[in-house]
Amino acid sequence: MLIEVKDLAGDFAENKDVAKKLRLNKIMPTLADGEEIVLDFSGVSGTTQSFIHALLSEPIRQFRDVALEKIKYKNCSDVVREVIKTVYEYMQESLDSESYEE
């Protein structure tokens, strides 16, 4: 499945409601079917960590390696790339530790 992010989120992807819809309606069902997803960020100059978190954290948490293998990114600006890398990093770091303890 190919998703053109700009068509839904505009040229600066920050609207988490859009991210949530994409996650629930496109990403999760596609991963559940074992299919590949390509997120095309062409025309998107930047994004926020909270947008990418709302888009990807649950797929990574639920589908783990399947999500990491099956979701692919195309035409990312440097900013978009950095933010995706950040979310990938902290999500993978936190996969095995369920809750913060004091």
Binding site: K16, T48, Q49, S57, V83, S94, S97
Partner: protein, 323 residues
Amino acid sequence: MKVTLSNSDYLRNFDRFISSLDFSDPEHLYIYSHPKWINVHPAVLALIVVMAMRAGKQNVMFENLTATSGSYLDRMGLFEFTHQESPYTIQKKEESGRFIPVTVIKNSTEQSRFITDMIPLLHLPADKTDAIKYTVGELLRNVLEHSESTNGAIVAAQYYKKSNTIRIGICDSGIGIKKSLQQYWASRSKTDIEAIKWAMVPGISGTTRKEGGTEDNAGAGLFFIKSIAQIARSYFMIYSGSGIYKLLLHDKRIEKPRLHPDPDDDRHSERNDAPYLQGALVAIDLSLENKSEFTQLLSAIREVYGRAVRDRKRKKYKEPKFI
């Protein structure tokens, strides 16, 4: 309620402005001002609008508004929130661009529209806009998601050519940071200042204790903004309840300031005895002088964020039992 506008209400000396605040008698708002010169941060205007909304248009009174520079209040749209008419005559076309009047944002659609529209208003070069869009987007989203404010978020901004800085203020009349952390972090938010600082620790969200956050929240927003401000050598302030945390500028000679996951480790000032503000006020002076690219900045933030999560994880490792 009372507020006094002076001739230098900037973040550097914001304490003076704070000490003039009086939130008692919420049904009336009296705005006093310097008779000759008014110079205020957009955060001051955002806060005044929140106070005016609480008091009601009819109950907002300007006292001795005689300074010519007071026309700035008109240009920034303050009189839209008062019954009293502006004593100034301004040409709306003057200084087109360079400022964003006080705006009320109530939902994510309005937020997206605001972010799209604000950059042309500020007339800034494209390569400088990502950090601004990022900062405003995350701060507005914080208010809409966590503050429970019925009035939404109040935002205003001003670009200063001389210092090449954009000053942004965002205010709400919601539950405040302390209350928003209470459900999951009661022991870390006993006071307003404790709560403000805890909210800035990477990975701390008011919606869960789970590492990595929930599907919708990671607890990274304020840490990112503080880090953006720090690298750009900018002031950043959060005021909620009686607490105020203000990130101070690092030495100019330090080319690459170190980012810290713990806000206590940053050069800052704090207090927990400010006049009690119902809600939260966030102010930032974002310097656009910074030579480093926004992507480099994000990369530096990612490293510190990852390290903070790893360190926290390591603390939970069991030690071998040597006997």
